[in-house]
Symmetry: C2
Subunit: 174 residues, 2 copies
Amino acid sequence: MSHPEEQDPVWIDAETTVSARPADHIMELRLWLRLFSCSRLIENDIRRHLMSEFDFSLPRFDILAQLDRSDEGLVLGEVSKRLMVSAGNITSLVEGLVKSGHITRTTASGDRRAQVIRLTDKGRREFRRMARVHSDWIANYFERMPQKDIDRLMELLATLKDSTRQSIMARQET
Amino acid sequence: MSHPEEQDPVWIDAETTVSARPADHIMELRLWLRLFSCSRLIENDIRRHLMSEFDFSLPRFDILAQLDRSDEGLVLGEVSKRLMVSAGNITSLVEGLVKSGHITRTTASGDRRAQVIRLTDKGRREFRRMARVHSDWIANYFERMPQKDIDRLMELLATLKDSTRQSIMARQET
DNA sequence: GAAAATTATTTCAAGTCTAAAGCATCCTCA
DNA sequence: TGAGGATGCTTTAGACTTGAAATAATTTTC
């Protein structure tokens, strides 16, 4: 990630170097890696526990979590967007959840292309049983952080999300 | 994720409710989801660009990135640990990178179980070509954040990582 | 109102990922 | 020194993931 082969031009003095080295971005890179490793650390841990304690995969859990909030169910495309995974991926997960009796799938009234999925009673019951423990795990990760740090982190991540979205948008317009 | 079915016992008044609802953890849950979505947003974007501009997958790039920092190469287990992916996964990625001529693999001197991988000249050259652009993308994500927010986020994520690690350790000792 | 463009989903191939089992090698300690 | 355990890696089966192409339905446009 460092670029030892990129030498600063000799006419750049120390002062200039600090303020004008657009090609380096070392701090940003480290921040990204740190963000990523936090995320991965937690995600892996959740995945393992969900599997070992409930024999349920994280992607399946994530879909149920989205559905638990909406009684009217959700269209597949909406689930795909919220979980930030491809549409093709959702198809097979939904198929599995229908087969295991956790959700139902019906054609949307008014748009025969769209599929609406909903939790079944079994799905809701089992999701909530898992969610109760799941939320305890999560709380544990943050347990050793002061409340004010948690609040601040929440704000900063909101800022980052906005910044990132804008950056992605901007590139797409090009 | 919300638990509408969990009613507070009636003897808990409003005051108590605020300070003593250990089973809810709504803020922590939201913080995790926000962290996760930031991470996923960025990761997905990087993956897409790496693929479309260099026809190179993110997992392969990640391995090269680890190797670029160490001239003496790395043992597979070390790569696995740093990237936080399973050992079995590394095996096939390494196989591919050897086949495409980006890295070499040799048995570690002194331990015939261990495999050391190193960048080839081609690997280093191609990695750095990609890394240059890659670090620009990263910088863009953070571009709209004030420097002091970036610094603070860096600190808070370090705190979170520690907190999370301890939480995971603590559970494993049980 | 029909062609063209868009949208929602499915299918497919190829790649990534994990956990668990297996193999080979190394280390420990009596 | 040699049995037992630990370590490093590979193999395997199965689940997840993506992007691209295909299908079907809707909306737009002229």
